[in-house]
């Protein structure tokens, strides 16, 4: 079986937010909608201060709470591990947002444009066509790239065209993608060698996003 997952090396992430912006462009996300966020947290007292930088996204959990609660079947767990949303089935009840322990889901309540009062820009006109208002949205591991790759033999995490945009463009080389079920994949090896951690393991959701620290 294949189970796609991501590894994020916190030592390497510099907090540039390139993942956030590349995701916005890749998915033509409307104003305020961030699928790939970066959390900054300061701790300690001057001068013994520390800054934690935590890039977050949908964890594509093996046992996803959002999937269980979706009343319409819009949110699904695919065989390859991706948790996806079929916008045509989503009725915007937002139950999934309540259920997700990671705050990874976002409701697109109404049509917004980047330049208020001036209508959509050309890239918004094209990008928003595929989306719907009144649905929940989230990171889809660049599902469109993975699906396209399935037809032409490209390998997600290895071939760029089949790899999520945030991974390709990360200037910190902090993000890795691949098959968690393949023990020889780069992601599996990194998790094994460097004791990759999932967020909130205690909840039993078994995320497909691992962190190296």
């Amino acid at each position: 079986m294949t189970r796609y997952g991501m590894v994020i090396d916190l030592k390497q992430c510099v907090g540039c937010t390139g993942c956030t912006v590349s995701c916005k462009a890749e998915h033509s996300l409307p104003p305020g909608m961030l699928w790939a966020r970066v959390l900054f947290k300061e701790s300690g007292e001057y001068p013994a201060v520390q800054r934690s930088i935590l890039p977050v996204l949908c964890n594509h959990c093996r046992d996803a709470a959002c999937v269980k609660v979706c009343p319409t079947g819009a949110t699904e767990k695919r065989e390859d591990g991706l948790v996806t949303i079929d916008y045509s089935k989503c009725m915007g009840c937002r139950y999934c947002m309540m259920a997700c322990p990671y705050g990874a889901r976002h409701f697109n309540d109404k049509l917004r444009y980047f330049f208020p009062g001036q209508g959509p820009t050309p890239y918004e006109e094209i990008g928003y066509r595929e989306q719907q208002v009144g649905v929940v949205m989230k990171c889809n591991f660049c599902q469109e790239r993975i699906d396209k790759a399935a037809g032409n033999g490209q390998r997600p995490g290895v071939d760029r065209d089949a790899t999520p945009a945030c991974v390709n463009n990360c200037i910190g080389k902090a993000r890795f993608f691949g098959d968690l079920d393949d023990p020889n994949s780069e992601v599996s090896q990194l998790i094994r060698v460097r004791n990759g951690l999932q967020l909130h393991q205690e909840l039993g959701t078994d995320p497909s996003v691992y962190y190296l620290y």
């Binding site: 390497q12 540039c16 956030t20 961030l34 970066v38 900054f40 001057y46 209508g119 200037i171 080389k173």
Partner: protein, 854 residues
């Protein structure tokens, strides 16, 4: 990715770290997405950015379709120019716009070209590979107003690098470096893709990073150690490091110092090198126990330390001994009282630096054996944007030579790098007098020929053409300095991709200088602050609408690869804009100097052979680009090839990567370090010449041969200005000219306070200020009001205003209410480094008070 989607290879050149190969996804003729590109020739192996892009690149898309863009040429109908006066712009045809400009500029050209001023960006090369320079050359000598450079640039490293080792850049060699000390350098925010990739690779393999900065920057947060130094005191810490190395550790690379520096040259008690009757500098030969000419083959065991009595009664000390004596009082304990860095820490850092240098080690790269010195010091704007930048740059280079680490693998490099024209035009080193590399300086020029007076006031500004205190040009125009006849004021100004009004400092001065100019032509993307003062507004194509070539300019970080990348239109022009090169051709044609312009294009774009453009003919930019492509590729690749492939990158031989060192050894040359007698002599001559002409407002006291401590000028401010206010780059905006892009604003907002003002928590408590309150920060020349974000990541005596915002006219930016530290920066002679030209702009002093509760 639909069938009608295609990826267009082009380039991002939004910062000085690139160019980065990118490709743009175009759907139905609309640019919708972008990513790093590895599909060009060699891009997968020989690109510094390794197919990655930072957030800034994406701004190119949002700028392209920004509905607030200036969409057509405009002219002013209200002749009154003031802060709050509507210019009354009306749209006009290109014919009328260019006709008006050609008429005004043509008349000036017919009388005195110097009455035209130009305000280009600091490195205009990033937006224009040569036609801008060609136009100006063909037009005739013009005056320079502008921003960047002395104001917001690592000027000191450029001047000193060019001066001493022929390098525009002074950079660590991250491929081999194991121990790096950043002084006021925030690479995580300003390094873009190329530098972040390289430095992150280095960190991943174990490079230790120490960050010396008043602010817990992004870079400090990722470093192994953060030393929160008191602003403006870096020189004291550096001098203490030199002290520990020479006095406590007594460890240095003696072989390197003896052969590649002037360390053994004897210096007399008068501070000049000691020479024999024929003028040859002497060294002390320990073997024969006598002084011999520096190039005497009989002098085999050169003394670096000691005091020697010469036969003629003179007392002499080798330059290194002179340095050692000079820094005797600069102990870590002395420095602690100035810098707030504990003496024990300074001692440890110095020891770590020496240990990590692995003095004596070598490395074999591609079969070539070279010294390996994996330690380096990088000065950022936190140092080079302050006074004492000469003292700091000299100390930095001395710390490099003490371990034999200048221009060798792992160390401090940069030689033969240049800001670059279209072609890699590294300056390199050349033999000078006395066995040392050549030091270039202006002879005293009188009367001054520029508004800033750089050629008169700053002899070493010749080392780097852009090194002039352009901030002073504005002040001089408004308040002519005493006994200093600057040229007649401008009759016209061309503004191109820069914004002096928001970037330089003291707004009133800049505004007044610009307001007095009778005719301003502005190449404008947005109706921004500079546009408000313009008479004619020319909207030009933006990055994704135009052609240009971007060379992989050699820098130390980019020394391994060279190549050429094409910028090409990903989409048709969105508005009724024109390519700047076409505008310049049209203007040259209308003003009747097309032939001179064509000749200048041949020179500036280095067109060769049959690719040269001919007199008497007019060429489109696309035709010139084709010739440019063929010329730069040795005839192998034309424009069509570049359009399909995006460009090519190649690895260069190791003998080229470290050629400055190899050339130094081969030619038996020495760096003019650590003892800069040339500076002492130049300073004395400058002082005498200035006295002669009655200029008493330009001090020359810092023209010293060895690095010396002075208190920062900020300390002279009244006590009520009790906070240092500094600034830092944002990863989203640094250099990008993109601060109005919503994608980037959203991303920047992820880090709370990044668009506000940071203040230390305890310091705020003492002032009764709470997180989120609105505060006012007021200096002697300006004030800003903005929300405060409390943090433990800053010194209690320091405030941080990130970014360079403060726009009051540019749509998309003015609405955010963001402020700028620049507003607080005075433009003064006394706040200008008298050697390097940079202003004390990185940090000012101010008072802070609460305006409104959260």
């Amino acid at each position: 990715m639909e069938n009608n989607s295609r990826w267009v290879p082009t380039v991002c050149r939004n910062c000085t770290k690139g160019p980065c190969p990118v490709r743009v996804e175009v759907k139905n003729g609309v640019a919708v997405n972008l990513e790093g590109n590895i599909t060009g020739v060699g891009f997968d192996r020989f690109s510094n950015s390794q197919g990655r892009v930072c957030p800034k690149s994406y701004g190119m898309i949002q700028k392209l379709y920004n509905p607030n863009r200036v969409k057509r040429p405009m002219k002013r109908t209200n002749p009154k120019k003031d802060w709050d006066v509507d210019p009354g712009f009306v749209e006009i045809t290109w014919d009328e716009a260019l006709g008006t400009v050609a008429d005004r500029l043509g008349k000036i050209r017919a009388t005195d070209t110097n009455r035209l001023s130009v305000a280009p960006p600091g490195p205009q090369i990033f937006t224009n590979a040569g036609t801008w320079d060609a136009f100006l050359q063909a037009y005739g000598p013009t005056q320079y107003l502008g921003s960047g450079g002395s104001i917001r640039c690592d000027m000191a490293e450029h001047v000193f690098g060019n001066l001493v080792h022929g390098g525009f850049h002074c950079e660590p060699d991250p491929v081999y470096c194991n121990y790096l000390i950043h002084f006021g350098y925030n690479t995580a925010a300003s390094g873009g893709a190329p530098e972040t990739v390289l430095y992150n690779d280095a960190r991943a393999r174990g490079m230790k990073v120490v960050v010396v900065d008043p602010v817990f920057s992004l870079t400090a947060g990722k470093a192994d150690e953060w030393l929160p130094i008191k602003p403006g005191t870096d020189i004291a810490f550096m001098l203490a490091l030199i002290h520990v190395i020479l006095h406590d550790l007594n460890r240095y690379d003696a072989e390197y110092l003896k052969t590649l520096t002037n360390s053994p040259y004897l210096v007399g008690n008068d501070g000049y090198f000691i020479r024999d009757s024929s003028g040859k500098i002497l060294v002390w030969d320990k073997g024969s126990e006598k002084a011999r000419p520096y190039d005497d083959p009989g002098a085999r065991d050169l003394a670096l330390e000691g005091t020697y009595q010469l036969g003629d009664g003179r007392e002499a000390r080798p330059a290194l001994q002179k340095l050692k004596d000079h820094v005797a009082g600069y102990t870590p304990e002395w420095a602690e009282g100035i810098t707030d860095i504990a003496a024990v820490t300074t001692r440890r850092i110095a020891a770590e630096y020496i240990e990590a240098a692995r003095i004596g080690s070598t490395i074999q790269i591609d079969g070539v054996t070279l010294p390996l010195r994996p330690v380096a010091i990088k000065l950022g704007r936190g140092v080079t944007g302050q006074m004492l930048s000469y003292q700091c740059a000299l100390s930095q280079h001395i710390l490099a030579i003490l371990v034999g680490g200048l221009e060798v693998p792992g160390g401090h490099g940069g030689g033969r790098t240049a800001a670059g024209a279209g072609i890699n035009t590294g300056i390199g080193i050349s033999p000078g007098p006395d066995g040392m590399t050549n030091l270039v300086s202006f002879p005293f020029t009188w009367p001054p020929v520029s508004y800033s007076g750089a050629e008169t006031l700053l002899p070493y500004s010749k080392a780097y053409a852009l090194a002039h205190p352009r901030h002073l040009a504005y002040r001089h125009l408004v308040e002519p300095p005493k006994n200093f006849p600057i040229p007649a004021p401008p009759e016209a100004l061309i503004r191109y991709r820069c914004n002096p009004l928001t970037a330089v400092g003291e707004h009133q001065i800049i505004f007044e200088a610009l307001r007095r100019i009778p005719f301003i032509v502005s190449f404008s993307y947005l109706p921004d602050e500079m546009t408000q003062l313009a008479d004619i507004v020319l909207p030009e194509h933006l990055d994704l609408e135009r052609y240009d070539l971007a060379t992989y300019v050699r820098s130390a970080t980019a020394r391994r690869f060279l190549g050429v990348l094409l910028r090409q239109p990903a989409v048709e022009p969105v508005n009724d804009t024109m390519e700047i090169s076409e505008i310049l051709t049209e203007l040259a044609s209308r003003m009747g100097f097309l032939d001179e312009y064509n000749a200048a294009i041949n020179e500036k774009l280095a067109l060769n052979g049959e690719n040269k453009v001919q007199a008497g003919q007019r060429y489109t930019w696309e035709e010139i680009m084709d010739r440019f492509c063929k010329s730069v590729s040795g005839g192998e690749c034309d424009l069509e090839w570049f359009r399909s492939n995006g460009g090519y990158l190649k690895r260069v031989p190791v003998t080229y990567q470290y050629d400055v060192h190899l050339e130094m050894v081969d030619k038996k040359l020495r760096y003019p370090l650590p003892y800069m007698e040339h500076v002492k002599i130049t300073g004395e001559e400058l002082a005498a010449n200035l006295k002669k002409v009655g200029v008493d407002w330009w001090p020359t006291k810092e023209y010293l041969p060895l690095p010396t401590f002075f208190p920062n000028v900020m300390e002279e401010m009244p006590e009520k200005y009790d906070f240092y206010v500094t600034t830092v780059r944002n990863a989203q905006f640094s250099w990008g000219s993109n601060i109005e892009c919503p994608w980037l604003i959203e991303a920047a907002d992820l880090m709370a306070g990044q668009q506000d003002i940071y203040m230390n928590t305890k310091a705020a408590k003492q002032k009764g200020i709470k997180d989120g309150d609105e505060i006012c920060v007021e200096s002697e020349v300006g004030k800003v009001k903005r929300k405060v974000k409390l943090t433990e990541g800053i010194r209690p005596d320091t405030l941080l205003i990130p970014g360079q915002f403060g726009q009051w006219a540019a749509p998309g930016s003015k609405e955010t209410g963001r402020v700028s530290q620049v507003t607080l920066s005075p433009i003064r002679h006394s706040w200008t480094d008298h050697f390097m030209s940079n202003m004390q702009g990185q940090t000012v002093k101010a008072m802070v008070y609460k305006v409104r509760e959260k």
